[in-house]
């Protein structure tokens, strides 16, 4: 036990700075949430509690379209990236080091290393060429781009889960004449499921939050929720943005709490 009189972990002023950091970190977010319930037209003056701006945002067809588009892209990107990341994680863990493994790691983590603006510019050029050549203007470009940059976020928790897994259960299944597919389906997959779910959630959040790549890749009239908000911020800001922000914030916190609980439950 540590003595009460002289705490070796205490450093003068550190706790005060830390508490200050938490206050400063949350004060702006709390302000946004509080003011999203403001009845007044102004973002600065408090005019009483109301759900007015939520109703206005809810009835705004641009917001509706952007929300649906955001969800379509995020769900597709999460599904695609998680599927591919799961395969890649199975291929790169629990076997000896193999030739080209470092290359695979670098490729998978590459979206984390390149500044987003550079990737955005690269995709703008690449997709502009394809758009001219094929005439296709749909959501496919956004889904492709989002799936790609979500891969490292899906991959990391899945890999962490796989590395912590015991190989003996799979060997036991094989000993009991299970086919490789049966072993995977009945033993490996259920064991790695929490990691896969966590990876999918991170991918979903990352896709839902993306601004820069979406802003560069989207065709005309393909606003997602964040790019719609970015456009609004350029004009006079209405408390509607507060309401949309709060809704997105609640969704993120819910997903994160689920992620937290999924990854914490270790055997």
């Amino acid at each position: 036990m540590r003595g009460r009189r002289f705490d070796i972990t205490a450093l003068p002023g550190f706790s005060a700075i830390a508490i200050g950091v938490f206050v400063v970190l949350y004060a702006p977010i709390v302000t946004i949430v509080v003011y999203s319930f403001n009845a007044s037209n102004s973002v600065a003056v408090w005019g009483g509690f109301s759900f007015r701006w939520y109703e206005i945002a809810w009835e705004n067809t641009q917001v509706q379209d952007a929300t649906i588009r955001s969800l379509v892209v995020a769900v597709s990107a999460a599904l695609i990236s998680t599927t591919l990341a799961t395969m890649a994680a199975l291929g790169t863990t629990r076997r000896g080091r193999f030739k080209g493994q470092t290359f695979i790691y670098v490729m998978i983590n590459q979206p984390l290393m390149v500044p987003e603006i550079v990737t955005a510019v690269a995709l703008l050029i690449f997709f502009a060429t394809i758009k001219v050549a094929t005439g296709y203007q749909g959501l496919g470009y956004l889904i492709l781009a989002h799936s790609a940059f979500c891969i490292p976020f899906a991959y990391l928790p899945i890999r962490a889960r796989l590395e912590g897994m015991d190989l003996t259960l799979e060997i036991a299944a094989a000993d009991l004449y299970a086919t490789p597919w049966q072993t995977f389906r009945r033993v490996t997959l259920p064991l790695m499921a929490p990691g896969v779910a966590a990876g999918a959630m991170l991918a979903f959040v990352i896709s839902l939050d993306d601004v820069i790549i979406t802003e560069f890749v989207k065709s005309a009239g393909q606003d997602t929720l964040p790019t719609y908000m970015l456009g609004q911020l350029r004009r006079a800001v209405t408390p509607e943005v507060n309401a949309i922000s709060t809704a997105l914030l609640v969704l993120t916190v819910m997903l994160l709490t689920a992620f937290f609980l999924l990854t914490r439950r270790r055997d």
Binding site: P28, I29, P115, I212, F216, L233, T252, F260
Partner: protein, 296 residues
Amino acid sequence: MTGAASSTRSGWLLSLPALVLLALGAAGPLLIVVVYSFLEPGEYSGVVWNFTTEPWFRVFLERDIFDGTVSLADAHLTIFWRSVKLSLLTTLITFAVGFPTAWFIATRPPSSRAIWLFLITIPFWTNLLIRTFAISEIIRNQGLLNTALLKFGLIETPIQILYTDTAVLIGMVYVYLPLMVLPLFAAIDRFDFKLVEAGYDLYASRWKVLRRIVLPIVRPGIVAGSILVFVPSLGAYVTPRILGGGKNMMVGNFIELQFGQGRNWPLGAALSMLLLLIVLAALLAYVRVTSSERPQ
């Protein structure tokens, strides 16, 4: 057990779909940017397929349109210098406040440590746009900060913070702070506090213990945090766009300008590649520092 050859083959086969997607949607297009940085700009947008080194030349130098004299491209250098300066300041400030915060979290009892850590993680995963917007609401002329200062009579007229370099700095420190705290926490969490005890037993002061024992041991965490903050700061786009207004551009915004109003895609491509080279240099330095510190 599987042989090495079949392990290599199945490893590659399973990773292949992900690699193809990444090649199409992230890594491959970077090669096109390299090509574009050596072409002539088209009249309205896009490029003309004539090889030239002009875009790279124009990143650093400008040619007078009348007499053809060559001088340094001051406007570009100012923007690059502002980006580097603001990113370094962001890194320093996030370290100065992030270290005590990480220390605080790591020294909580295990039961509450997870909660404090979660509290740092929430802003980290919250939409960057929302956080930047939130900060702009606080520092606006009619925002919370100025209103409070006016109310307490500390100032006569609102301070103009929004649309200045200071606003961009405040915003970047705010949005990137969790990226500094998390690796610092990981390093301090692994730290063996018996060493601190030993230091105190040998009559070292708190400052000396911190400087001579703690900081050298958690150095990999400091380096990791600094890289994680410096790299996205340098390529920042959203934060300077919202908080810096039109004039106080950083490299990210200047690149975008070349693809919008500027209509100079090759120059934009060259600027992007330069930004990428700086970031890769920082990452390589990081790899070298951390690998030389590990035994063997």
